[in-house]
Amino acid sequence: MPADNPAISVQHDAAHVAALFPALLLEAEKIARSVSAGMHGRRRAGPGETFWQHRPYAFGDPVSAIDWRQSARATDRLYVRQNEWEAAAAAYLWRDPSRSLDYASSRNIPSKRRRADILITALTMLLSQGGERIGLLGEERRPFQGRNAPQRMLEALNIGAFDDAASAPPVASVPAGARIVMASDFFTNPGAVETAVAALAAAGAKGVLLQVCDPAEENFPFEGRVEFRDLESADRLIFGQAGAVADAYKATFAAHRDALREITRKAGWTFISHRTDHAPQTALLALFAALADMRRRMS
């Protein structure tokens, strides 16, 4: 419903989107909490820029590490200044902004877009609790950090808007060692995905492809004469007997997924598929575990 006054329209949309925030945040937080329970933070000394603690000098510590000002306060010992352990690079998330995610086959399950938003936001929460920096892949702005990272992530996700052109992951430059999470249905040419993944992998990034699918997309439960309409291109296809092609569809779908899985395997990435009728916690846990695993391997 385009309003006459663009300013008013934008304001209206913003209010609409803002209204979505608390609910989505709440839901994401609930999921994130169920996953983070029992997990400890990552607050320990390590390479980083912010102060973490002083400790007595030990043999082998570089002299440059000695905090002379602190050591001067004590009589017979030297203190070494330790900074907080800090990841070499932030986690970069990406959620497919195209209209193809705006689909739910049934009223009882959320759209893929919403599920992806929730997962991304929940992941942001978890990561921000771990004190990590989170950025949006392909965005120029700095990675977010801290308590309000989920809100800012949501803002950056721009959950009210669609961008049909960007249905494939962007090819962006990220710092080495960055971890990437791409959430999409990946109903696009696997080549485009491979290009993006390969570029990121070449830059030294590790990552996860999270494929969010609707059950109808996996099972193809259509019968009879059906006209299918693409959400992005508005193209139409008519099947006289939709039920008859279900098996072929499933095979093609599986092949497409295998192709994606192959891409991730080549890049050493992780592939996670998630169905919107399944619990989001599963996917979040898998995502988180995969990211934690990568960190371990990288550090």
């Binding site: 995610l101 689909y103 109903f187 004469r225 006209e227 959400l231 093609t252």
Partner: protein, 912 residues
């Protein structure tokens, strides 16, 4: 029954020819597919899909759509059932009506057809002629009717109780000649009764020769006749015939007594296709003798009514045989007699004394000679009271009359007997002579084959000649009879067995015995007059089968004439005395009852059913189909996601709802209309008084209550409107609280409805003040006319026990503190309900006294008293007003002020 189907614009039906074209067009269009948004389009693109062929519309959907279109086309063509045929005629119109009893059964349809024809004729200003075919003593002149007279044409006709006389009608057609020749082609409408008669074809030809003939005949409505079925074994058997054996007909026979009460009702059903049914009315003898008529319920036609003749009543006959004859029961006289009268009588056999005590109307003594003195006295007394005694001769009687004539014989008998035709006798057996005109057998034909071989002879003489009711050819009596008191004694000079004569085995025997038993029904006066008696018509049958008082020109008939079929001079009905009428029925056993057939002329039915336009239901059906089609289309394209069961339910509701809804719903008033008087009374408080019918008393009541109302307004918060006068029978008392009822001497007890009205009034809180106004005249317990009337009324009324009012009663406290309920006179006590603790919270519902309160209150419009007080002057009148105020206060506030009664006790307790 479907009538003729016609179309207002039949050309539109040609559009039905285009339907096959539509079939081809519709077949080519596939049904629209289900539409689905689907993101995994990239995968769908890779699927190799077979060539997309347009799906064909299912044939049943096609058929439904074609039916839909066909329905619309047919509906637009304007189908009408029973459309009136256009009457394009312009010449004169002749309306021929069979105004006969068969026509009466569906006279409404005929009347409607006549009205319609007359209206049409009046509209086009055509000369109209009316010819009725029922025979009439004064046939209506055939002359042109026009203008306003046409409107009443149906009203001047009523069905007559006769069958159509089409022969006379044919002759009367000649009267039409001067009118018809000049005016071109005439339209002739013959509203026939559907019954065949002798001259049908001639009449139809004669009509057809004079113009365009349309013959109407009734096939739908049943045409029934009711006759006594004499052939059936049962006594009260009736045969119902109907003209057309169509559908099964269910009806009932209703037997009515002379005093109008219903004696019996017998339901019957004529099976489909059958035309005749015999119904047996099971009536006890006593009831069957009360029978006045039998009719078929809800059929109004003289033919459907059977009038019961008094002569058909079943006599209770006491049969007494002589003690000696008891040999073979098959050869005894009683057997012959009972065989002869079996259809018409019931029998009691036994001892003479038992028979008389059984309250028989006829006693037959078969060859009884001497009677004991006591028996003879009893029998004689019974005959004097109106009994009919029939005696048969025989050896015993002949023997008994040897020395002297036995008692209770009409003539002196000669001893022994006389035998003819024997070997030793000179005479040949004798035949019967013609019956004398003054005898009860007058009119019967003497049977030529009856030979009398022996007889008991009477002493010849004038008396014997006069008293001979039947003679042999040689002049000797066969039957003699005489009146005795209110009764009759008859003697057959032969035996009741064929020993002495052939009479008992001839049909004449039955008729003779019946004529004698008639005497018991009709009374002996019938004897005096003989065959020439004329019976005045008592009630005559109308064509609709109602019994009406005879007109001035109705003539009296003899019994013989009443045996003939009815004619205009002899209308069917009851003749003679109301208690013992002779009946002439509209239909007799010989009446022919065949449907009319006119070769070559089609019979048109009466337009009993109004034209019905079929377009609305067709359009409705088409709309429903359209709805169904829409729902189906949505279902097939997957637009309707709900379950098919629910869809089916919705469809069913949509389809059935129009069927169940009433065609024309008429709003019914939920409540009975409120009597305007009651409505007015409900809006303003009013005192009320009962109308007595005596203007003086009523005026006094009104004046009294007006004055009391005035005082109430002046002194209290009660501001009543003008008093209301109450008719206890009709008025609603629920809106009044205070009712003044003066009892006049000789007042009649109100009707049950009025009494119930009063009881309700008292039960629901009203206060009834009954005033006998006899206080100064009532001394002690001596009754006055008023108190007697009151006693009669109260005997009918349910009221609580009464007690004299005491000083502590709430009536004394409710407004003023009084010591007595003063009226114009203050002598005798005033009565109130004794223990009124039950209903109405202990408030009395009734006050009874004789103190003429209204008289004390009454004042004219200037406030001047209408009646003097019996003593005490103006101060006494003031107390009367105070009494009135207190009464009204009790009526309105109940026991509110009865607390005052307890004030001293309460104060005392407070003091403690």
């Amino acid at each position: 029954m479907l009538g003729a189907l016609s179309f207002t614009s039949p050309l539109l039906l040609a559009a039905l020819g285009a339907l096959p074209l539509l079939w081809l067009l519709l077949r080519a269009t596939p049904p629209s597919p289900k539409r689905e948004r689907f993101p995994a389009f990239i995968i769908l693109r890779q699927l190799k899909t077979s060539e997309e062929t347009p799906d064909r519309t299912p044939w049943w959907l096609m058929a439904m759509r074609l039916v839909l279109l066909a329905l619309i086309i047919i509906a637009l063509a304007g189908p009408v059932l029973n459309a009136p045929a256009p009457g394009p005629q312009s010449g004169p119109m002749v309306i021929v009506v069979d105004d006969t009893w068969p026509a009466a059964q569906n006279w409404r349809a005929r009347r409607a057809a006549m009205v319609e024809a007359a209206a049409e004729a009046a509209q086009s200003d055509r000369e109209t002629f009316l010819l009725t075919t029922a025979p009439s003593t004064a046939p209506r002149n055939i002359e042109p009717i026009s203008g306003e007279a046409l409107d009443g044409i149906a009203d001047i006709l009523a069905p007559s109780p006769f069958a159509a006389d089409r022969k006379t009608a044919t002759a009367r057609l000649a009267e039409l000649a001067p009118y018809l020749s000049a005016k071109g082609q005439a339209e002739i409408l013959w509203f026939s009764d559907g019954l065949a008669s002798a001259a049908d074809a001639d009449f139809a030809q004669a009509l057809a020769a004079r113009g365009a003939l349309s013959v109407f005949a009734d096939r739908a409505a049943p045409t029934l006749i009711l006759r006594r079925d004499n052939n059936a074994g049962a006594d009260m058997a009736f045969r119902i015939d109907r003209l057309h054996g169509g559908e099964a007909f269910t009806g009932a026979l209703i037997a009515t007594a002379r005093d109008g009460r219903e004696l019996a009702r017998a339901g019957f059903e004529i099976p489909e296709g059958q035309t005749t049914l015999t119904v047996d009315l099971d009536l006890p003898l006593a009831l069957s003798n009360d029978l006045a008529n039998v009719r078929i319920a809800n059929i109004s036609s003289a033919g459907a009514v059977y009038l019961a003749d008094a002569r058909n009543r079943r006599a209770l006959i006491g049969l007494v045989a002589n003690a000696q004859a008891a040999s073979s029961s098959l050869l005894t006289g009683p057997r012959y007699i009972s065989q002869a009268l079996d259809q018409h009588a019931a029998f009691v056999e036994g001892d003479l004394r038992d028979v008389i005590e059984a309250d028989v109307s006829v006693v037959i003594l078969d060859d009884v000679g001497r009677l004991r003195e006591s028996e003879a006295d009893a029998l004689a007394a019974w005959v004097e009271r109106g009994g009919v005694l029939i005696r048969f001769a025989g050896p015993v009687l002949a023997d008994a009359s040897q020395d002297r004539t036995p008692q209770l014989t009409p003539v002196e008998l000669r001893g022994g007997g006389r035998a003819f035709g024997g070997a030793l006798t000179w005479d040949t057996p004798q035949r019967l002579d013609a019956f004398p005109a003054e005898s009860p057998f007058a009119g019967l034909a003497p049977a030529s084959d009856v030979l009398v071989r022996r007889q008991v002879l009477a002493q010849p003489g004038g008396e014997t000649t006069i008293r001979s009711w039947a003679r042999l050819e040689d002049g000797t009596p066969l039957v003699t009879g005489a009146r005795q008191g209110a009764g009759v004694i008859a003697l057959f000079h032969v035996t009741a067995t064929p020993d002495w004569s052939d009479l008992p085995i001839s049909g004449l025997f039955i008729d003779m015995l019946r004529r004698l038993t008639f005497l018991s029904a009709l009374g002996p006066d019938a004897l005096d007059d003989g065959a020439e008696t004329r019976y005045a018509p008592y009630r005559l049958l109308t064509g609709e089968g109602r019994l009406a008082r005879p007109g001035d020109n109705a003539e009296a008939m003899t019994a013989a004439q009443l045996g003939d079929p009815p004619s205009p001079a002899r209308p069917p009905g009851f003749y003679g005395a109301p208690e013992t009428p002779l009946a002439l029925n509209a239909v007799g056993p010989q009446t022919s009852f065949e449907p009319i057939t006119l070769p070559g002329i089609p019979l048109r039915p009466y337009a009993a059913t109004p034209p019905v336009s079929l377009a609305p239901p067709l359009i409705t059906a088409a709309l429903l189909l359209l709805l169904t089609d829409g729902v189906l289309a949505l279902l097939m394209s997957g637009k309707l996601a709900f379950r098919p069961v629910r869809a089916a339910a919705l469809l069913a509701v949509c389809t059935l709802a129009p069927l169940t809804s009433a065609d024309r719903a008429v709003a019914q008033p939920l409540d009975a209309t409120i009597d305007p008087m009651a409505a007015e009374a409900a809006l303003a408080t009013r005192l009320a008084y009962v109308l007595t019918g005596d203007p003086t008393a009523d005026q006094l009541s009104e004046q009294g209550l007006v004055a009391l109302s005035r005082e109430l307004v002046r002194r209290t918060a009660i501001e009543p409107g003008p008093p209301a006068s109450i008719n206890l029978d009709t008025d609603d008392l629920s809106v009044y609280s205070f009712l003044y009822w003066p009892i006049l001497p000789g007042a009649e007890t109100p009707s049950d409805a009025a009494l119930a009205n009063i009881e309700n009034f008292m039960r629901f809180g009203g206060l009834l003040l009954i005033d006998t106004r006899d206080d100064e005249r009532a001394i002690g317990a001596a009754p006055t006319p008023e108190s007697e009337a009151l006693r009669r009324i109260l005997a009918q009324l349910s009221i609580s026990p009464l007690t004299p009012v005491n000083e502590n009663h709430v009536l004394m406290r409710s407004f003023y503190l009084l010591t007595t309920l003063s009226g114009r006179m203050n002598n005798n006590p005033v009565w109130v309900e004794a223990d009124s603790s039950g209903a109405n919270d202990g408030v009395t519902a009734i006050i009874i006294g004789g103190r003429d309160w209204a008289g004390a209150w009454a004042a004219d419009s200037f406030g001047r008293p209408a009646r003097p007080m019996s003593g005490g002057g103006p101060r006494a009148r003031e107390f009367a007003y105070r009494t009135g105020v207190n009464m009204v206060m009790v009526a309105f506030t109940g026991n509110y002020k009865s607390d005052q009664v307890h004030t001293p006790i309460l104060l005392e307790r407070l003091g403690q």
